[in-house]
Assembly symmetry: C2
Homo-oligomer: 408 residues x 2
């Protein structure tokens, strides 16, 4: 491995022969009631816009729709390419496309950029209609529940009564879980991948340090940096911290070890010595060109706030009204969302009699495992989806809802 | 636990009944040859000063001296108090004092602040005699080997031919290992605690992000901030990152969980919500008042550069000339210096026939375990020291040195 090759590790993969090809991102602005879109934090957005992509066709029975929800830095562009010259495909092209696990020849696949994001959906970089300027920190805090409620409007708009599946990794998993609990009759199955019912304390700690790095950057300017110099240094540091948590000690050792970057001996100064330093800086620098620092603040906070058991007493009680079947997948080397958290979920689901398939996949790639080609993940999803579709078409009634009122 | 109590967790412990009591830090500036003190990075320091403390008495045989070497943010003040009103004792008061494992009634204990530090030894905040101003980034890079060579001058000055033990945790362990390899006839035993023969790639990555945070702070000003505003925000972020790596996921969960800090509900802004955030900010803010940001850069870089196998081909070859006996201790929840790294050392020592005692201590406190009261660690050190002292007094010859030339 030469020094430069380590930078060619694609964040997303090149489109392959089974790629869905050219796709477009659409945006949708729903007609809202006069009060706008109320948020769990107590404030309201006068209007919202969601960016989304769809692939495949909704069948006549409208029972083949799958909603894919993305992680912190993701977007609506989950598969295919936007232009014939794109070198990289959507962020989960390995899983979504003709003949793939989320088979666009069979299923109608939807992916929407989250509320608070910076990839077409409304977020802190959007224009505040009251001022004509970007919201910045005037943007109200949004929660995972708010993201999911906005997605439900989109699913309504697309004419889908019940999703065959909602699938998400990492923070996408938070949204998938929230859907199943909040709108139990709208979801036939949940694929919760490399995720948890809440962040660990350690993960909250890392998020907070990333936010502190952004807010300590003078260019952040209290969030009012649009049209000026953006807080690149702070956001890059936040991203570097994140990246370490997405990999594993084992994988970093295998990938970089103690190899030096473009040099034979130590610099004996504070320039780049090790390949791992160069890799992290590259990742940090690349990120600041494609992501908004304020969105990073809002979304990471939404992750920290998320706890499926909030207001329910326990995770077992949280899952009480669930009608979906569950596929829960963790990866052995994922220390950001460790397997013990998946097992907690599985136990709570099983305590409610929820049909649950759990799979811990051996992998050295850490949390990033779910984004990489993985035959066991691909097969598990393919099989699970076929099985759920069969249940749905057999008029499988779903689990009887308990008498407990579900959250709406 | 109320919100405020979490801030009272002492970094060092209050002096107990067995504390050695009042101690003083001394400084020593050796007479150097005209060429000064040459460094491994190729540059020289015209003069050096070391801060150190000693407790107990050197016996007539001069065979009861123990050198304690400290970790990144430590200092020479390893035990006792500096003033009758001190609320906290030295950083390893739990292990050093009358009747303790490093028993100052029996042993002559020395601890010296490292080269490059900011606690009395020469470092980047010291005055550069050529300019009359603080060195800043004109301070030459120092290595673990340089630190150890300076300590050897001090040990010579104190009239000690052979140390009964050199003991260190974390980066202190790096120095202890280096001593045993570089000056094999000067060390009867090594206590390598929560350490390794090199940093993991992941640990280098965390160090680099910490350095980037410091250097991204405009107040850092290329290292020329002395007498002006210091890079508090950057150093605090580096410290927060460090702190997460010193604890364990399990311990953070037990200590903080998802408890909120001085509030009943979420803030829905970017102020402090969780106790773990408050704790980290407190640790970061406290650190900037007691530590120099440039020293943090230099010392963390010295850690990254350290690899006992550098220039030796392998760890087994690195240990070839060693004459000391070894006590190697790791802690189960330490993910910064995981047990697998201790085991690598132990295997390489055993391959050389070095008498080695290895102990993995169950603990939930992560890397910080070595600084906390731990009966198993205390007993292991007490027993091992008694055993080594017996060997030394029986005229135990040490291991025969192999034909290979040792590093000098």
């Amino acid at each position: 491995m030469t020094g430069n090759e380590i930078h060619d590790v694609p964040e997303y993969f090149a489109p392959d022969e089974q790629s869905i090809g050219l796709v477009v991102t659409q945006t949708w602005t729903p007609d809202l009631p006069p009060e706008g879109f109320p948020l769990e934090g107590g404030r309201r957005l006068p209007s919202i816009t969601l960016a989304y992509e769809t692939y495949g066709k909704l069948n006549e029975a409208r029972d083949n729709a799958i909603l894919i929800v993305h992680a912190l830095s993701g977007d609506a562009h989950v598969a295919g390419i936007h232009s014939p010259t794109d070198r990289k495909a959507g962020w989960w092209d390995v899983m979504v496309g003709p003949g793939k696990s989320y088979d666009t020849d069979k299923y109608f696949v939807i992916c929407s950029n989250i509320l608070g994001g910076c990839k077409g959906s409304i977020g802190p970089s959007s224009i505040n209609p009251e001022t004509g300027e970007p919201y910045g920190l005037d943007f109200p805090m949004v929660t995972i529940g708010d993201m999911v409620r906005a997605q439900r409007l989109l699913v309504d708009y697309l004419g889908i009564e019940r999703l065959l599946a909602i699938t998400g990794g990492s923070m996408g998993g938070f949204q998938a879980l929230e859907w199943a609990v909040r709108f139990p009759d709208r979801v036939a199955s949940v694929h919760a991948i490399a995720t948890a019912a809440r962040l660990s304390t350690q993960a909250i700690a890392f998020d907070e340090v990333g936010r502190q790095a952004i807010m300590a950057d003078p260019d952040w300017a209290g969030g009012n940096y649009y049209g000026k110099s953006t807080p690149k240094a702070g956001l890059a540091i936040a991203r570097m911290i994140g990246h370490i948590t997405y990999l594993s000690d084992e994988q970093m050792h295998a990938k970089f070890g103690r190899r030096l970057q473009d040099r034979e001996t130590f610099s004996y100064d504070f320039k780049t010595d090790f390949q791992v330093e160069s890799y992290l800086k590259y990742q940090g620098d690349a990120f600041v060109h494609r992501f908004d620092a304020n969105s990073y603040l809002y979304i990471s906070k939404a992750m920290d706030y998320f706890d499926l058991a909030n207001g329910c007493g326990s995770l077992i009680e949280a899952f009480e009204g669930v009608q979906a079947e569950f596929l829960v997948v963790s990866f052995t080397s994922d220390w950001l969302f460790p397997t013990y958290q998946s097992k907690e979920m599985v136990r709570a689901l099983q305590a409610n009699g929820v049909p649950t398939t759990f799979l811990e996949i051996p992998s050295t790639y850490g949390h990033d495992s779910f984004l990489l080609p993985n035959e066991r993940l691909a097969n598990a999803v393919t099989d699970f989806l076929a099985h759920v579709q069969q249940h749905v078409r057999q008029g499988h009634p779903g689990r009887p809802v308990s008498g407990r009122e579900v959250r709406a």
